[in-house]
């Protein structure tokens, strides 16, 4: 911005006593502080330019002793400073007898004669500022002209009125008031008094629209729970996204404590947990595979997201079954009054959403679909792409029925399907196939009955059904037949919760019952004569839980939240349970017994209390200290030995040989709102300890493995970290910046041999151990039609396993890996940019469009997703695999039709 703003002249005159000499009229003005001011012409007595320096603080300058002759004068004033363009003003005035006799003129310019030009003469700009909805005049609105408050700024009076004096020309006027969206106007002063009345839009609704925070303005400071982030959907839509697909999981990774192993990671790691330690719920139904196209896009339909709550610290007792965190995503309810159609097109997918009120105010449905089927074009672009297939789709139907004042019924159906084939995934071993395809789908159904019992109590009862079916397909050579390896997870659940809200107390009690049925894998030969039908026994299990959450204020400063969940897990038959000799590797040799259980018989139970405690101590109106403790048990997990689970990775319930994971988390935090709740500062530290984490024996293979315990090892994990974040929640510029220091270390030792431990039983880095993380996100709402967003992400490279040596076998050289995860990838960093253009026609119509122009990885950083070593023709070479290694520009279009 040009810093010269000196077109604001006061030409003052000061007289001397002597009448005969027309001396010392004062010529004065204001320029950029510290700039050089040169006066050319006029001062007859000096004969040359007069050079002055503007005051370094106020910018005022004055020429005290310049003699002018009588009559019209012209003075050119040039102000220059080293770092900007000089500005020039020419002043015309007349030195008159009246002046010389010395009437002190303090306010008025010497000359008001129109004949000598107009520059430097202010005109009046005035107007009234109203609330756009209530039409109430707004007092105290800051009116800033040309970005400089101190010179020409003013504030509105009690009647919302303001008045300013402005020079000729164009001026930018910005009006700001806390609680309102800033308004920008450009006014042209043409020589008459101008009126500018402005309606300001309240951000009462926008307060929650703003970036990441928890409920409302200062709830984050007040609530006795910590480690909770609420990611606003509108924020999510405004930040840059890869290929224009609004992506929840990528957005979450900009929050402290949420990381992943890289761009193609099938899930996120929260506070040192594995991806399967997060309970991901979509309208209360669990999501077993959160991404499409192997980690590139997340499965949450962006257009119908309602709220996103991430519990990474205190987890309410109503949630259970996973050890690390809960991501609770709800879909918005259908509009019961107005039909609406929305949709969009990006390079990746096409989307459509319809709100259909069926009985006005009573019953409505929401239908949304998204599909990516563009891969048929790939071979047309290049032969290289001929063997790539990637299609996905997801759809939602949600119905909301307000039965009467006391009862509502909500039902959600969600379906998602993926087909994926690439050379970047491993083949199905031991089947003679020409390629390997991944096909996975899920059907999630939920129905919830909500009954208000009294103004203070309500009862929610939910039933849900989730069927996740991943399949690996292997087409046979010269035959139309495809061999399939199909597995499935079926979860059925009923839960009910009673909520009672009393002044300064809140109580929730509930119960839940889950039935898991897992088909770990069935090989379906189809028409093949080569492959046998092979199936692994179906697993059945029950998880029963009771919970109570109680929140209470204890005096003005202290509040407490106490939760208790009691979970009981029952592994059910039919099953054949092996017993192994303790202390030996679990394999065919160490079996000492095996017991057969019939259908419905309980083969093993686990369970115990899961306390959840949160304490808040208020430090003044805007600050608080909080402490929390959590214990969670996990009975269902992914068993896989890859860096990130494949969609087809095996889900496994705990059983007699695989103990449930138990995680304890201790957190403490400081929370501060400042600058009228515009900014929020949070500092949280945590320590987490997990027992019975799962690791793998070298060469572990879970495909069609009836006894997975022979392939895995159990150990322990510890994670700790400090997360700091400042967010600006309101205003034209919103955003956040956070820095996290976090470590995750594992220890696995079941015996002395190489196959029974990792790194000899010492603590080693988890795959996602990334000590330093810095994320920043910024959104600038320029006006109603434009917003810009920038996000920056930096983190230490993740660990990988590098060879500790090479061996030569038969003249061919191979790597040797002596130690796990001892090396690190290069640091990861990336800058993304988005320009959102809303309703470019600028007319209010029923059709509103939005363009989003995104550049992902703006400066084209070659971030390594992985480093690997390959032996080619007897030589070992190191490679890095990059995903999104170049800047990727994309354009997406979205519309709403009301």
């Amino acid at each position: 911005m040009n810093r010269l703003y000196f077109f604001c002249f006061l030409l003052l005159a000061q007289t001397a006593v002597a009448q005969s000499v027309r001396t010392r009229p004062l010529l004065a003005g204001v320029a950029t502080p510290g700039s050089a001011v040169t006066l050319i012409g006029g001062p007859a007595s000096t004969g040359g330019p007069v050079v002055l320096t503007a005051d370094p603080i106020t910018g005022a300058w004055a020429s005290l002793a310049i003699a002018f002759a009588d009559g019209p004068q012209t003075v050119t004033v040039v102000a220059s400073s080293p770092d900007s363009i000089p500005t020039v003003a020419t002043l015309h005035f007349s030195v008159t007898a009246r002046l010389t006799v010395g009437t002190p003129l303090t306010e008025q310019p010497i000359v008001q004669d129109n004949t000598v030009g107009r520059k430097g003469i202010p005109y009046t700009l005035s107007g009234t500022v109203y609330d756009s909805l209530t039409k109430r005049p707004l007092a105290g609105v800051a009116v800033v002209v040309d970005y400089r408050k101190q010179l020409t700024g003013t504030t509105t009076d009690a009647d919302g009125h303001y008045s300013l004096r402005l020079n000729l020309g164009e001026h930018s006027v910005v009006l700001r008031l806390v609680g309102y969206k800033p308004e920008r106007r450009v006014v042209r002063i043409t020589g008459e008094a101008e009126t500018l009345d402005v309606n300001m839009e309240s951000v009462a609704s926008q307060l929650e629209e703003v970036v990441v925070t928890t409920q409302g303005v200062d709830d984050y400071v007040r609530k006795p729970i910590l480690g909770v982030n609420q990611l606003n959907i509108n924020t999510l839509k405004k930040i840059p996204s890869a290929l224009g697909e609004v992506d929840l999981l990528r957005g979450l990774q900009l929050l402290p404590g949420v990381t992943s192993v890289g761009e193609a990671s099938n899930g996120v790691n929260i506070r040192g947990g594995t991806t399967d330690q997060n309970l991901i719920l979509l309208d209360d139904t669990p999501i077993f595979n959160p991404t499409h196209m192997f980690g590139l896009f997340s499965v949450f339909p962006p257009d119908v997201l309602g709220t996103v709550d991430l519990y990474k610290g205190n987890v309410p007792a109503r949630f259970g079954g996973r050890a690390a965190a809960v991501l609770d995503v709800t879909l918005r309810n259908p509009d019961l009054n107005k039909a609406q159609l929305a949709g969009g097109i990006s390079f990746v997918s096409d989307r459509i959403t319809a709100d259909i009120p069926i009985v006005k105010g009573k019953l409505g449905i929401l239908v949304a679909g998204r599909g990516a089927f563009n891969d048929f074009l790939l071979p047309r672009i290049s032969d290289r792409l001929a063997d790539i297939r990637a299609k996905f789709g997801d759809g939602v139907i949600k119905a909301f029925w307000r039965i009467n004042d006391r009862n509502t019924l909500t039902a959600t159906g969600y379906y998602s399907k993926d087909l994926f084939q690439t050379g970047l995934l491993a083949n199905l071993p031991n089947v003679n196939g020409t390629a390997t395809r991944y096909d996975h789908q899920t059907l999630n159904l939920m129905a919830r009955w909500f009954r208000t019992l009294s103004p203070r109590a309500d009862l929610q009862t939910t039933a849900l059904y989730v069927h996740y079916v991943p399949t690996i397909l292997s087409p046979e050579l010269n035959s139309g037949n495809v061999v399939q390896l199909r597995s499935s997870v079926l979860q059925r659940q009923v839960k009910s919760a009673l909520n009672i809200a009393l002044p300064s107390q809140k109580l929730e009690i509930g119960l839940s019952g889950v039935h898991y049925q897992i088909e770990p894998g069935t090989l379906l030969p189809g028409g093949s004569t080569q492959v046998n039908y092979i199936t692994t026994p179906t697993e059945n299990a029950l998880e029963l839980a009771l919970h109570a959450d109680y929140e209470r204020n204890l005096g003005p400063n202290l509040a407490v939240s106490v939760g208790l969940r009691y979970a009981q897990f029952l592994s059910l038959g039919p099953s054949l349970v092996r017993q192994y000799r303790p202390g030996e590797p679990r394999d065919d040799v160490s079996i000492i017994d095996s017991v057969r259980y019939g259908a419905g018989q309980v083969s093993k139970t686990y369970g115990g209390p899961e306390p959840r405690i949160g304490l808040r101590y208020t430090l003044g109106p805007n600050a608080s200290l909080k402490v929390g403790y959590n214990l969670m048990r996990q009975f269902l997990q992914v068993v896989t030995n890859t860096t990130t689970p494949l969609p087809t990775s095996r889900w496994k319930t705990s059983d007699a040989n695989i103990r449930p994971q138990v995680s304890q988390l201790l957190t403490a935090g400081y929370f501060l709102n400042f600058h009228s709740n515009v900014y929020e500062l949070t500092v949280e530290g945590y320590y987490r300890s997990t027992q019975h984490i799962i690791d793998y024996r070298p060469g572990a293979d879970f495909l069609l493995q009836p006894y997975p315990e022979t392939q895995l090892l159990q150990g322990q994990s510890r994670a700790y970290g400090l997360e700091t974040m400042i967010s600006k929640k309101k205003g034209e510029l919103t955003g956040w910046i956070n820095y996290t220091y976090a470590r995750t270390l594992n220890q696995v030792y079941e015996g002395a041999s190489v196959e029974q431990n990792v790194n000899g039983g010492t603590w080693y880095r988890a795959n996602y151990d990334r000590p330093h993380t810095l994320n920043a996100s910024m959104t600038i709402d320029v006006d109603k039609h434009n917003s810009f967003g920038l996000t920056f992400a930096y983190s230490t490279g993740r660990p990988y396993t590098a060879p500790t040596g090479f061996v030569t076998i038969d003249d061919l050289q191979y790597p040797y890996y002596g130690e796990r995860n001892q090396a690190r990838l290069p640091d990861y960093h990336r800058l993304d940019f988005v320009w959102n253009i809303y309703n470019p026609s600028m007319k209010s119509r029923r059709w509103e469009g939005r363009w989003a122009f995104t550049v992902y990885n703006l400066y084209g950083r070659d971030n390594a997703y992985s480093v690997f070593f390959k032996t080619e023709n007897g030589r070992t070479r190191a490679y890095q695999l990059q995903i999104f290694a170049a800047p990727i520009a994309s354009l997406a279009y979205n519309f709403v039709f009301k």
């Binding site: 060469g699 396993t801 500790t804 070659d862 480093v867 070992t876």
Partner: protein, 394 residues
């Protein structure tokens, strides 16, 4: 649709990923005993090699043979066969020894420093024969490097019948005979060969490359072969298979090799189908996953591999390599390359090996050795033969 196509170009980048070479800063520190040897029932010399691989700060890999070890193979836990060291680190079984299906074999050796090592007992399992070998032209064959482009190839497949009732584990290896037309290259010199007896039919005296300072130091002259000559290529990748999903079924279309189309001339591939023990299979599978099946979106973290040889005094010492006993079924298959349809340029074996076309000597006129251009001898080695490979004329 245009805009979308550009988008797809972006998308393809994601799907293909993008692979480039990487320069890791490795902290190497390994000193390992390496054992290699597979006893077979083929009528050929049975060889075991013993070496030490050392990696350190100063060098990535130094392999030194373990000489003067006392090595023996114990058959069925009773009969002991002493091995003879023919070259440093190379130990051979007595001439005429052939493995037998059903026997067990154990390798034991004592190094000159006194370390005693022994393998597990490996039983030689039977292997079914290869019913059929055949090939298909694949215009997008293997990549020579992970960051390279696919090259046209003949994919070679085998069919075999997996025996019912037994667990079977397989390993394939092959060698390929390609006709070679160019037998010698002289750098700053000329190939000299003199007929002693009658021209073309009598004895000859081979002098080889004779330096010629009138030529540039970088000058290369290439000489055609005097007679038939074949270059031999060996499989370098590990191809294993277990019948866990396919027990007792006829197997069709197991790809054993992807042979780049170096030239349009026919080639002969000799495919060996080996039986493995379950442990040997596990070892080779894990080894293959760590050294060649890497670079996927979800690799398994590599881990130390332990073979079946242990230090008797220190079981914690990890010995690399596997002592295996395999029955072998051999199939010789002629790739006639009639199915090569690609428009790709196949500039011949010489071009594929050297990256240039042959440079024929400009004759200096008549010399003391006679006039005209000499042709070079095909000198047999591990990678070249002048003997007609069995199966070539079938």
């Amino acid at each position: 649709m245009h805009v979308r196509q550009y988008g797809l170009i972006g998308l393809l980048g994601l799907l293909l990923g993008c692979v480039s070479t990487y320069d890791p800063d490795l902290a190497l520190n390994a000193r390992l005993v390496v054992v290699s040897g597979t006893l077979t029932d083929l009528p050929e010399q049975q060889v075991i090699t013993l070496s030490r691989s050392r990696s350190g700060r100063d060098s990535a890999n130094v392999s030194t043979p373990i000489s003067n070890a006392v090595a023996e193979v114990v058959v069925n836990g009773a009969e002991t066969l002493l091995l003879t060291e023919t070259q440093p680190g190379t130990y051979v079984l007595p001439t005429g020894f052939r493995g037998k299906v059903g026997n067990t074999y154990q390798l034991r050796f004592r190094t000159s420093e006194g370390g005693r090592y022994a393998s597990s007992e490996e039983a030689m399992a039977a292997v079914p024969g290869i019913d059929r070998a055949y090939d298909q032209f694949n215009p997008r064959g293997p990549k020579t490097n992970a960051d390279g482009l696919p090259i046209p190839a003949n994919d070679v497949y085998v069919d075999f019948a997996d025996p019912a009732g037994t667990r079977n584990f397989y390993l394939w290896r092959w060698r390929l005979y390609e006709t070679q037309a160019w037998c010698a290259t002289c750098k700053q010199g000329r190939y000299v060969l003199r007929d002693i007896g009658p021209l073309g039919s009598g004895p000859i005296e081979v002098i080889g490359c004779v330096p010629d300072s009138s030529l540039s130091v970088t000058n290369l002259y290439d000489y055609t072969c005097r007679g038939n000559c074949w270059d031999i290529f060996y499989s370098t990748s590990i191809d294993v298979f277990a019948d866990s999903y396919t027990n007792g079924q006829p197997q069709a279309g197991h790809k054993v090799a992807s042979i780049p189309v170096y030239q349009r001339d026919p080639a002969l591939i000799v495919i060996e189908q080996l039986s493995l023990s379950p442990n040997a299979y596990r070892y080779y599978k894990l080894f293959a996953d760590q050294v060649q099946n890497t670079g996927t979106l979800a690799d398994a973290p590599p881990a130390p591999i332990s073979g079946n040889v242990k230090n008797q005094a220190n079981p914690a010492e990890n010995v690399v390599g596997y002592f295996a006993a395999s029955s072998v079924a051999v199939n010789r298959y002629k790739i006639n390359r009639q199915n090569v349809t690609s428009t790709g340029k196949f500039q011949g074996l010489f071009y594929a090996q050297n990256g240039r076309v042959p440079n024929v000597e400009v004759p200096k006129g008549e010399t003391e050795y006679g006039k005209g251009l000499p042709s070079a001898l095909c000198i047999p080695s591990r990678n070249r033969t002048d003997q007609l490979p069995p199966g070539w004329n079938q």
